[in-house]
Subunit: 297 residues, 4 copies
Amino acid sequence: MKEKFFSGIYPYIVTPFNDKGHLKEGVLGDLVDHLIHKGVHGLTPLGSTGEGAYLDWPTKRRVIEVVVEAANGRVPVIAGVNNLTTHGAVYEAAETEQLGVDGILAVLPTYFPISDQQVAAHFKAIARAVSCPVVLYTNPKFATWDFTIDTLKVLVEENNIRYLKDASGNIGKLMSIVTAVGDRIKIFSASAHIPMFVFMLGGVGWMAGPACLIPEQSITLYEMACQKRWEEALNLQKQLWPLNVAFQRYSLAACVKAGLEMQGFPVGVPLPPQKQLDSEGKKIVEKILRDLGALNI
Amino acid sequence: MKEKFFSGIYPYIVTPFNDKGHLKEGVLGDLVDHLIHKGVHGLTPLGSTGEGAYLDWPTKRRVIEVVVEAANGRVPVIAGVNNLTTHGAVYEAAETEQLGVDGILAVLPTYFPISDQQVAAHFKAIARAVSCPVVLYTNPKFATWDFTIDTLKVLVEENNIRYLKDASGNIGKLMSIVTAVGDRIKIFSASAHIPMFVFMLGGVGWMAGPACLIPEQSITLYEMACQKRWEEALNLQKQLWPLNVAFQRYSLAACVKAGLEMQGFPVGVPLPPQKQLDSEGKKIVEKILRDLGALNI
Amino acid sequence: MKEKFFSGIYPYIVTPFNDKGHLKEGVLGDLVDHLIHKGVHGLTPLGSTGEGAYLDWPTKRRVIEVVVEAANGRVPVIAGVNNLTTHGAVYEAAETEQLGVDGILAVLPTYFPISDQQVAAHFKAIARAVSCPVVLYTNPKFATWDFTIDTLKVLVEENNIRYLKDASGNIGKLMSIVTAVGDRIKIFSASAHIPMFVFMLGGVGWMAGPACLIPEQSITLYEMACQKRWEEALNLQKQLWPLNVAFQRYSLAACVKAGLEMQGFPVGVPLPPQKQLDSEGKKIVEKILRDLGALNI
Amino acid sequence: MKEKFFSGIYPYIVTPFNDKGHLKEGVLGDLVDHLIHKGVHGLTPLGSTGEGAYLDWPTKRRVIEVVVEAANGRVPVIAGVNNLTTHGAVYEAAETEQLGVDGILAVLPTYFPISDQQVAAHFKAIARAVSCPVVLYTNPKFATWDFTIDTLKVLVEENNIRYLKDASGNIGKLMSIVTAVGDRIKIFSASAHIPMFVFMLGGVGWMAGPACLIPEQSITLYEMACQKRWEEALNLQKQLWPLNVAFQRYSLAACVKAGLEMQGFPVGVPLPPQKQLDSEGKKIVEKILRDLGALNI
């Protein structure tokens, strides 16, 4: 395996659907092309914002094919693997790698509660099913488990588990993780965190939905962080924050999809029964995008 | 649609898998036959205990086909429909009905949180996709939503929404539901509840995992309740309770599958990363089954 | 210690306050007298409904004195001991016993989370500080701990720990407790439970706020249960349930105090910042009381 | 009221007790003197670490008197007001101001859940009972409420509500608060946050338990932040973090008290049933303090 090092801005690309819930492949391809032209460092289809938890494997497979083909090697593609069973996740991970991605993001949704030992075994099995780098994902708000420091210590022993995307919003937990295993695993910020603070803790990038809407501003923030221009980064971060406030108040996928529609990408709405953005929410998102120079109309 | 009225003991039938996670169709058919011989009033494949949340549609389709074929009209089959999207649930519900079931059990797992309005719209859409009776299912411990009384008032307006299986364990909530909409919707007990108390509140049956292991005892309990022999029912209920205590302590599917293995049905274990029953748990389940006369060996 | 056995209806007597938050002793005495005339089997001041968690020791001491004096030995008084520290609880328990109560109800509110071992040590210390019987109290909705079966097994070894009031609303948990330690500890129902089902499990009484408003109906329910007239009890229980529905929807203390005001006892409102009953809530409580024959006006 | 502006390092001073739970006044005075000599900018008795939630008013009054007398005007004293009722909090706030403090920290523990409107009314009443500045406190992990942005917008209208100490650990929430009302209210960091990030967001100080143990290092961190020497601050913050990891793992008050004992202040242990630090925890705290140069022995 040739060593690749993932870093920078990786939009959590949305999955466009028509009214019947069918994938709009053309729109997805256009969005990929658009984001690459804007300069993003990589793409992450099938994350939370990509509604990875809501799709069956044939749809997910098609999403990956479209994104890989549209990206055409210009930037790395790290695709989400999101399955409740270890058998299913191992299968999807191996298939996903065969489709030409550069890495996988391993997401574990839950129905019945599980223990730390089972969490560790699940992610180990996925890592061993592929040769590409694996990004661990955790979101304690949407699942019944979270990585303990001890579980992470076990998992970083796997050669290709190299990244962690923590969506807890608890920056102290992240600092504790960096303190404990920061030399073995690299951190991507989620939008539940304040990206510039994750960058200060050594975070290598931001893997998130907002970058679909404000790719250039996200890249600028990342570059300021790389150059340790913290005062400027802080100033920009403050300007970008109202978008996160809107995401927290309304649903993430609903906000990003509504914003992309405003920007001219007919990506549709999140699959029901997910929340849709109401007219008040749309006005708020529109105003924020306009204030950030992310709406030309 | 000829009116059917579902009542009595409906085992939440487990889904047997081999080590690779593939369905063991023969074992499933044998189990169906065994339970019908024991006198159960109906069968519910693909509930929680049936690991319905963990399976893809082709596997679920095959489970339904095997159960319907093995049941061969001897008892009603109410199959679980378990999908995170409304599009998916509507599709699976319609397909499930085509496979010859007598009713469906509508389960809604969640990833992102949803609102009451969306919950109502989801179940309405399912009900309208089929002509058979629909059993509503809620388990606030495993999902981020629960039916409010107001949501139930909306849903009972649908002609074929006729049953509710509440797995909250909160008997007071159930009494409030009976008080508000008890004339419009019938209640099935879950094992999170004490079945005989649900029977006392007017519950029409028990739809649950334990009945896979102790079908005869469950039937007896139900019959005592039908005849309002409450003292005897209470006495039997107390004898059966240690099985529920084990289920609460260990995982439900793991206990039922381990017990069925002891009874001679090689159903395997729950799909990882679900909890497996450890040797201590097996001893406890074995002792309980033996005490209840549910192990011949 | 002369053996006493507590059973029956023990109203969780409210604490009447004026607008400045001062105790209205006369009203409290009148209420005691009224409830005893109605036939209650005992009285429990300073429980949850009695706002025991909100009062300082001098006020609590005065409440106990007034209740003991007004009861004048006609019925047992079991007073709440509610303190965050073991030193404080031990002191208050000993003082409370000196004031002439017949038993104490030990409530443990929490600020920082605590472990099972500390829970056990706390209640042991209280039990050893008094010679009267102790009622254990748990409400996992309002505290960060709950009794495990293992903790209860330790606590029932204390000679004077004889009763448990579980306010979890989880009747299955209660059945598991009865199964494990039911021969060593007696159960009182809380209003979070359906009292007649707790009676069926062997519960010896109902210790709760609603009995302040409907003492006669509560006594009738208890007597039906003693005589195992389950069908009649069930019928009465259903009639009484709307009061519980109101309590769940609004705050318990607010409902009971508003109802008592309607019945002619100027007990005031719960101490702010606790929720007050709004005009809609008052109408609902008034209608329920009228339907139950508990309002003469 | 002469304008005072609070900023810098305010140790959450512990409350020393003997084995019987009685205040050790001499030790408390010594600790005040020690911390002032170390250069702290102010003192906060009766916060979480000060076990303010566990003490009765006479003890709290004595704590304030001792701290005010020992501080002797050298640094501001902001004392915690911690009472479940509005009547009680208003009384204690007014009394506390009379004892000569420079500001109060308003903490609202809960038993029954309360609504946003009641939260707002409670803090307003406290603010109006005093003329000194008020620090709002929230810890959603230990109470059933949290400040919404809307509630804060109401509260900053009060002339003397000028500071907020948020102990949620959710830095994104804090950034949203700064975005919404940052011009009207100043932020103090809690140890649940990473202080240097709160400083970057404009935070004016750190009000927390760890500063009892490492006052000089805390002051240095604050000074680096004032001078925007972010790289150095980040480096120091990383060195200090293991102390926070220990606090998260064990109890806060237990860690600080154990560390102070090691430093020669016989402050005793947290009042039972709070968690005590076990021997393993003591070794960890000792090693961390030694590594930070905070143990001379």
